[in-house]
Structure formats: C-alpha cells, structure tokens
Subunit: 343 residues, 2 copies
DNA sequence: CTGAAAGCGCTTACAG
DNA sequence: CTGAAAGCGCTTACAG
C-alpha cells in the first residue's frame, strides 16, 4: 500500500488526502494549534508519523554538517574525557558537529528516550554515540524503530546482536595483566573487579582466570571481589583481602581508579608497593602515569575508541555495510613501577 | 533609510525590489545557482547580508531549543572537564543544547573564525562560550559585528571592556595561599607561576606579593619563575630554585599540575613534603586530592564557573541587561597535607 | 543571463 | 471545529 500519492517526500496535502481532512486542518495539527478536535488530531498525528512528514522548518540545508549526539554518564573522569577528545578529534577531521549531553542527575527513562528519539528524527540527526550505563537495550528500541543509528562504547551489558558497539580487547588485557604477575612469580593474585555483571568486567575476569589455569594455578574465589569502578572499592577491597588467612601477594584492579584506592590503603597501612604487594591497573589513564609509584596498567586506546565509534556511526548513517557489529581495539600492558617479584 | 518595505522579516521579494532584479534571480543567488552574472550576484549577496535575510531552511522552529557553541583548547584535563560538566549541568537545567568543539591541532585563525561566526549567524546560535587561548580579542570582532553573544571563561589576556568574562578571585586566592605559608612561619616562598602574561597568573602573582608586603617580607625576584601550566614546569622550576644560594622553604605553584611536578621532583631528590618543603597548588582539582601527600590548594569553583558562563550567555542572548561584564566567583584555600611549619 | 508566468506547499482569515 | 478561498513566499520551466 502506498502511503503517498506522489513518489517524493510526503506533503501536507498528501497527509490530508490520506486522513480525509483538509490541508488547513493538517497544518493546524503540525503547528500545534488548539482548535482541532482531539480525535482528528490523533488521526492526523498518526499519519504524520507513519509517513515521516517533515515540516519545512525541519528541512536542513543540503550542505549543513551531519550532527551526531553524544551521551555520557558524566564527562568528568579521565576515561570519559579521553574518549570524548577522540570523538571530537574525529568530528573535526570529518566535518561533523557534536551535540553533547550527560545523564548526570537524570538517568534516562524510557519515555525520555522516546522523546529524544523523536526529536532526533525531526532534527535529522545522523545518529547517537552512547557511553553510559543509563541506556539498557530495550531503551534503544525507540531508536531502532526510527532507524536512527546508535553506537555504544564499552556497553555495560552484552548488547543485542543488532546494536553496534566499540570496545577493547578486555579478555586479552585481563590475561596479559595476570600473565605478567605470574611471570614475576606471584601465585596468590587477587582480582578487585568492577560491577560483576558488566561485560568488560566479565571479560577481564575470564582473561585473568584463563592465565591462572594455563599455569595450573588453582582459582581462589575468595580472591575475587567485585564492586564499583572507584577508589573506595580499592580501599575496602584491599582491607578485605588482607583480612584473609592467606592474603594475596599481588592485586589486579579492574581499573586505575580502583588501583589508586588500593595504593592509598596500602600506604596508610605502611605496605610498600611493589616490594610487599604488586599492583596492576586497567585503562592506562594519566592516573596510572601520575600516581606514585607509577602504575603498571593495561592501556585501553580510549582516544581511538572514540574516534572509531564516530567513524563507524557515520558509516552506518550513510547506509554502508558494516564489517562487524562489534569493533574491538587492542589493549596493551604497560609495565611501570608498581609490580615486582614477590618478597 | 529603510531596507525593507514591510516592517517584518525581509522577504526574497524585498531583496529583489531593493536591488532592482527579479525575485527568481534573488532565489538563484540564495540557492547558489551558477547562471547568475557575477556582478548581479555580488550586488544581491550584499543586500542579503545587509538585510539579514534568512532563507526558509534556516528558520528554526519557535520551540527549538537554544543552541550554544562551546570551544575548548582541549577537553582532556581535570580543569577542562570540570568546567565542561558545569556547562552541561546548566544546559540540562535550562533546556539548552551544547555543540562542542576543540581547537586541538588546529588553532583558530582569523578567517576560520569569520566563517564560524557567519555559520553561527545562519544557524541562529544563541552564542558561544570560549575556554581557549586560541582566540584573541581581535578574533572576536567577527562575533561582535554580528552581535553574537560571547562569554570567555578565564581569559588569558585582559579582555576588551565589552567582552563578557567569567573567572575566579585569583588575586584573593594568591593572597590566601601566601598568607597560609606566612602564617606557618615561611619567609622564603617561591612562586612557580603560569604564563607570565596570562591574566589569571598576574592576579595570583600580585596576591602573593601583596601578602609578602603586608608582613614586611621583601619580595625576591629570583623566587618567581613563570612557565606553562604543566608538571614539566614544576620539575624544572624546583630544580632551578634548589640551585639558588638561598633556596625557598615553600613553593606556591600556579596550578595543581605544576604542583604535581614539584612533588615528583622533590620525591626524586629525596626531599620530604611537607617536612622539608611546603607546597600549595591552585585549582583544587582531583589531582590535589589524589596526590600523595594530598595537596593544599586554592580551589576554583570550576563547575560553577561553567554553569555561570552559560547562564550569563543566555541572559545576554535574551537581551537582558548584565550587571557586570566580569563575573568573579570565590576561590577557597583548602589545607591538606602538603604544608607545614618550616624545619 | 534575466524575468514574466505558472505553480507548489503552506498558512491565514473567516464563513458556516 | 472544519474547510473553501485567498494569499504568501519561494521555485521551476522556459521564452527571449
């Protein structure tokens, strides 16, 4: 069934014909006038949505740049600002405009997202990059239905098969961190991970477990504690580990923030790193370089992840075929001062 | 002289009448068609600019949110990302959209800025917030002429009288830092400042000098070294200070980054902070909290500065009278672990 | 390269 | 609350 009589973009007159009302009435609905019967309004609104009608105000100039919306939980962390700078570098190079929002203080609800998707469709956004835990997979339905491209960076939950995501080789990173500690001679190696269900955390954990297994080192469940990606978790986690009958000689932290917490608690207790305790972080942010001792850490290519997410999104927006719905960039273990042979 | 016959927005027909050509010809110029004589084109273009003609594609919906452009040198520092999060928090609260760009890699030239100003006028941007050293005062002329509101955060150079700027009480902060060290009993106090000509640096320097003077402590020029707001300056600066015949017992650093450099160099040389050297930073970023020992630092309300800049900009955009063209938010000395009585 | 004429898409003013 | 009629602003097709 053809929705419009002509082949081009639907006009206001098309909608009128379709719904059996006059053009002026449709015009009133489009402009949000009051003097329209509720029933007529909803009938017309349905047809407008169905047909993808664009009011003239929404017609963008052909030479206007693509606009990509970017959503972070918060922009105020080394992780976020590095990813963001990668997105911005890509945007400058590709002539794309970035509209930035955070969910800080107002976690996105389903209705808010439906409104956002509608607005993005109206404003003809090229797509959206999401770096947040606030959007679950079902939240993305509103975008899927409107065919607005979405790329998720480092999704907290395993994304649905049709959601495009960009991340790093977390499994390989976890494996490299544990291999490094095993190479140094450690056998009691703790993992102070991130949120248990987080995709990236699971991958790091399994990389770590795989390293233990390949050396025939038994996995000790009491040495694995999950928590938030924050320094507090490192502080409390180390305290809990040291209370064990047989404490670890090394800690693999789920990110640099947790590692900094471990470092702080170790210092408070007079435990020397790396002489008495080895420590590996994850992310490779400036936090790792700047801390004392400088942290051995698994570097994620955060800048590149931002850039890649944007490039992938634009490719999708242009209708190009994507090679893969999951892009993983390489992590790299960088050895600094926080790891040594066990005492 | 009236540019348009009618009182409302100029129409294409108005431009035609004004220039003595037909409406179709003006239409061709507006749409960039080829088949127009160069002379006719330039005559029409002049009239279009003069009259502020807006093509229908540029007419924004009345209910479309205000769009503010934000320009940073780089977004990847604690200072920048905190200011940015303040801007974003304000934007969420005020229903404003933020388009973000950085000058990273491509310092803004005069012509680039003229293009930007023209585009912003076409797209009816509400205004621009600038947190960058790339824009000099003359660069802002293109915006001034088009009456696009601009707010500068922490301008590097003293801004022209008609440029609105938001900053912090740098003089009072410098004074508080030096007063604190003097109170502890220090008399040889160095200042490792930022770029010499930078407005904020000058204010901090003079606050520091004022504190010395009020205690009758002679100002020692050899104890003041300017440089970049980076850790490297702290490292090299401390080395230079320690080479003096009479080295300082305390250092006031122009920002936390410099202070971290001082800390690092002190540690390398086996100098204990604060027992052998007291240290005060500036900015109060997480860097100050996270370093070991935690830095005594003059906190700037960076988040609030971002929020205030946005609020001020929107007030200007709405044509409201501004109380002042220079808003200064209060700094506050936060004493942590890096300062003590001299040995 | 220009513009009179026709026409498109939308809105306005108003009669019912 | 609706829509026929008039009209506005812009564009298109084409004659000169």
């Amino acid at each position: 069934m053809s929705l419009t009589s002509s082949r081009g973009k639907p006009t206001l007159a098309d909608i009128a014909r379709l719904t059996g009302v006059s053009a002026p009435t449709v015009s009133k609905v489009v402009n949000g006038r009051e003097d329209v019967a509720p029933e007529t309004r909803s009938k017309v609104l349905a047809a407008l949505t169905e047909s993808g009608y664009q009011s003239p105000g929404h017609k963008r100039a052909a030479d206007a740049p693509d606009v990509v919306e970017v959503v972070f939980d918060s922009v105020n962390s080394n992780y976020s600002s590095t990813v963001l700078s990668g997105i911005l570098a890509g945007a400058a190079a590709m002539g794309v405009e970035i509209v930035l929002t955070t969910t800080e203080g107002s976690p996105a609800s389903g209705t808010e997202l439906a409104t956002r998707a509608q607005r993005m469709q109206d404003e003809q956004r090229a797509g959206m990059i999401v770096v947040t835990s606030a959007f679950s997979d079902t939240h993305l339905d509103a975008f899927r239905r409107r065919r607005i491209p979405v790329v998720v960076i480092d999704p907290l939950n395993p994304p649905a098969a049709d959601v495009v995501s960009v991340g790093a080789t977390n499994w390989a990173g976890g494996r490299a961190a544990a291999d490094h500690l095993l190479d140094l001679g450690h056998r009691r190696i703790a993992y102070l991970g991130g949120p248990e269900s987080a995709e990236c955390n699971q991958a790091r954990l399994h990389g770590y477990m795989s390293a233990l297994m390949s050396r025939g080192v038994a996995f000790a469940p009491e040495l694995v504690i999950h928590g938030k990606f924050r320094a507090e978790h490192g502080i409390e986690g180390l305290a809990a580990l040291l209370a064990l009958p047989e404490p670890p000689t090394a800690v693999f932290a789920g990110n640099d923030g947790i590692a900094v917490g471990v470092l702080r608690e170790a210092r408070r207790r007079g435990i020397h790193v790396p002489e008495e305790l080895s420590l590996v972080g994850f992310d490779g942010t400036v936090l790792a370089e700047d801390s004392v001792p400088a942290l051995t850490s698994v570097t994620q290519p955060l800048h590149d992840m931002g850039r890649t997410a944007l490039r992938t999104l634009l490719r999708e927006a242009r209708g190009e075929q994507l090679d893969s719905h999951r892009v993983e960039l390489a992590t790299q273990l960088v050895v600094r001062e926080s790891t040594a042979r066990p005492a």
